[in-house]
């Protein structure tokens, strides 16, 4: 599927606005036919990165290579990439057909060819017969499809998508996620996708780039990022986590919540401060007498697939996901297998502690 050849290389990109650094020495590459997602909270620089590739922004320093050639000075209309904008940016004065045909008309293709390709695109996005409609008469989901069709019809090397599903409701969003992914696989186009929704990133991507404050924190495939987050921020951002301050007593033994726990990590040194990350679904509820920790259930929330319980263990509070419910106020035991305790070097953390 994904080819090894680098299609786009960003080398040491820095971008400043009025003295504020929004991207700080970013380097990453995108391979042909890869689905890459830039993931991060708002203001992390993900959209700026996308806009630099599209050509709407010029980096303060660094180079953007496209098939090995620097394209920094190439204006957007000469780049072989197309963008799907956050709020679609459809042309309100043109109908659906003319919106999609916009790029083709600029290429001065013959009319019949344009009509054929526009109709094929409408088919692809399940909007056959909508050509004559006004774009503002369409629903959000339909506008979204037109925006994608308008970009894809130009057969770009890379499709850049800037939070394209952000304005849709949950159900529609889930459906579009699958559709986009299958479209990408069928057409064999490289996608660069920007989102702040970690679930979206995990579902669709070949590669996820986690960003924060203009830095790249981690690059990897979804499973790797979920299972082996590089630091507490990534862990917290990708799925829910209990993040605790702890001390590495020695290799494979960590101390947190007032107890020592066996784990599988090593190489941190002795008595080193660390961050301990435990996914809520990795904590097992057991009898009060057999648990490594004991605590009182403070609250229980039904979340559909599982129950989310907040358990107070005195020295620490844990969030636990379980399919069996324990009544509020009851005493339970907590048990964590060594493999599920993730140890990370400490970093300044987002304001929250587990």
């Amino acid at each position: 599927m994904v080819e090894n050849e680098h299609l786009i290389d960003l080398n040491h990109i820095t971008k400043e606005y009025d003295g504020v650094t929004v991207l700080d020495d970013i380097s990453l590459y995108i391979r042909r036919k890869e689905f890459v997602t830039l993931l991060g909270p708002s203001g992390c620089g993900k959209t700026t990165t996308l806009r630099i590739i599209a050509g709407f922004e010029t980096p303060t320093s660094g180079e953007v290579l496209f098939e090995g050639r620097d394209i920094v000075s190439l204006p957007p209309y000469k780049r072989r990439v197309n963008t799907v904008f956050q709020k679609y940016a459809l042309f309100p004065h043109l109908n659906v057909h003319d919106n999609i045909a916009f790029g083709l008309k600029l290429k001065k293709l013959p009319r019949a060819e344009i009509d054929r390709r526009v109709d094929a695109m409408l088919d692809l996005v399940n909007l056959s017969g909508y050509g004559k409609r006004r774009v503002d008469a369409l629903s959000g989901g339909q506008q979204q499809r037109v925006a994608i069709a308008r970009s894809l019809v130009n057969e770009p090397e890379v499709l850049l998508l800037d939070e394209p599903l952000g304005a849709l409701d949950l159900k529609l969003r889930k459906g579009m996620q699958l559709e986009l992914k299958s479209m990408q696989q069928r057409l064999g186009i490289t996608f660069l996708y920007v989102t702040h929704d970690q679930e979206e990133a995990l579902t669709m991507s070949d590669t996820i780039v986690v960003m924060r404050d203009g830095h790249i924190l981690q690059i990897g495939d979804p499973k790797h990022i979920y299972d082996e987050p590089a630091n507490a921020f990534v862990a917290d951002f990708i799925g829910e986590s209990n993040i605790l301050r702890g001390t590495m007593v020695r290799d494979e033994l960590v101390h947190f919540a007032g107890q020592d726990f066996p784990c599988v990590d090593f190489g941190f040194g002795e008595d080193a401060p660390v961050d301990v990350v435990i996914r809520p679904e990795d904590i097992m509820l057991v009898g009060e007498d057999v648990g490594q920790l004991t605590g009182t259930i403070r609250s229980v929330l039904f979340k559909g697939v599982h129950y989310e319980m907040i358990i107070d263990c005195g020295a620490a509070t844990f969030k636990v996901h379980s399919t069996t419910m324990q009544p509020q106020g009851s005493r339970v035991g907590l048990s964590i297998v060594p493999f599920n305790i993730h140890i990370m070097r400490p970093m300044e953390r987002p304001g929250r502690e587990g």
């Binding site: 050509g55 209309y77 904008f85 709020k87 004065h93 916009f102 600029l106 290429k107």
Partner: protein
Amino acid sequence: MSKVSQFFKRFYLGLVLFFLYIPIVVLIIQSFNAGKSRAKWEGFSFTWYEQLFHNTSIMNALWVTVSVAVLATIVSTIIGTLAAIGIHAMKKRPQAVMMTLTNLPNTMPDIVTGVSLMLLFIFANIPRSYTTMLLAHISFDIPYVILSVLPKLKQMNRHTYEAALDLGATPHYALLHVLIPECRQGIVTGALLAFTLSLDDFTISYFTTSPNVQNLSTLIYSATKLGISPTYYALSSLMFVVLLVLLLVVNKRTKEA
């Protein structure tokens, strides 16, 4: 909503409209009066309408009024639209300066605008004429065009222009085929406003034209000193009807569109 309060509201609005329309009705009636007196009805006639078309000074003034309005509208729409696009693209500080300068003529009383332009022409040693009046009209029209176009630009999705570039449009193609069509409504409103203001202007024209080149307003003004002839009533009744028909046609077309 009770019937009584509904009735009261309609009655009040009716009263206000009556107040606004009564002089117009009086004017139109008088334009058909056979006699010259404002006070006495001397029978129905088209005399004044006939005289109207033989009155060269009125016909000249009509020509001046309409041609100035058309030319001023065209020029101010072009300059104003370009200016709105330019101002929209400016950084904050220069943008604020431009907006203050754009709002200035709006807040300046017409008479001050008029005399200041008169001083300018006198200072530059330019004799007042048709052209100076036209220049004055363009000057007071441009801000209205800008103020109509600018909100449309602001409303526009910031990314629409970028989307055009992204799809391969050069900047000037995007300008002509995306930016301008999208603020078309604002441009049309601005042009209509400019035309109306220009057509009806008296004060500024009065100070910027020469006595040889009169538009309708200045002509009427000088006629009031001698006692105004009902020919003018006929003229303005005619113009009123023409504009009314135009409005109905435009309204119908926009409804169909």
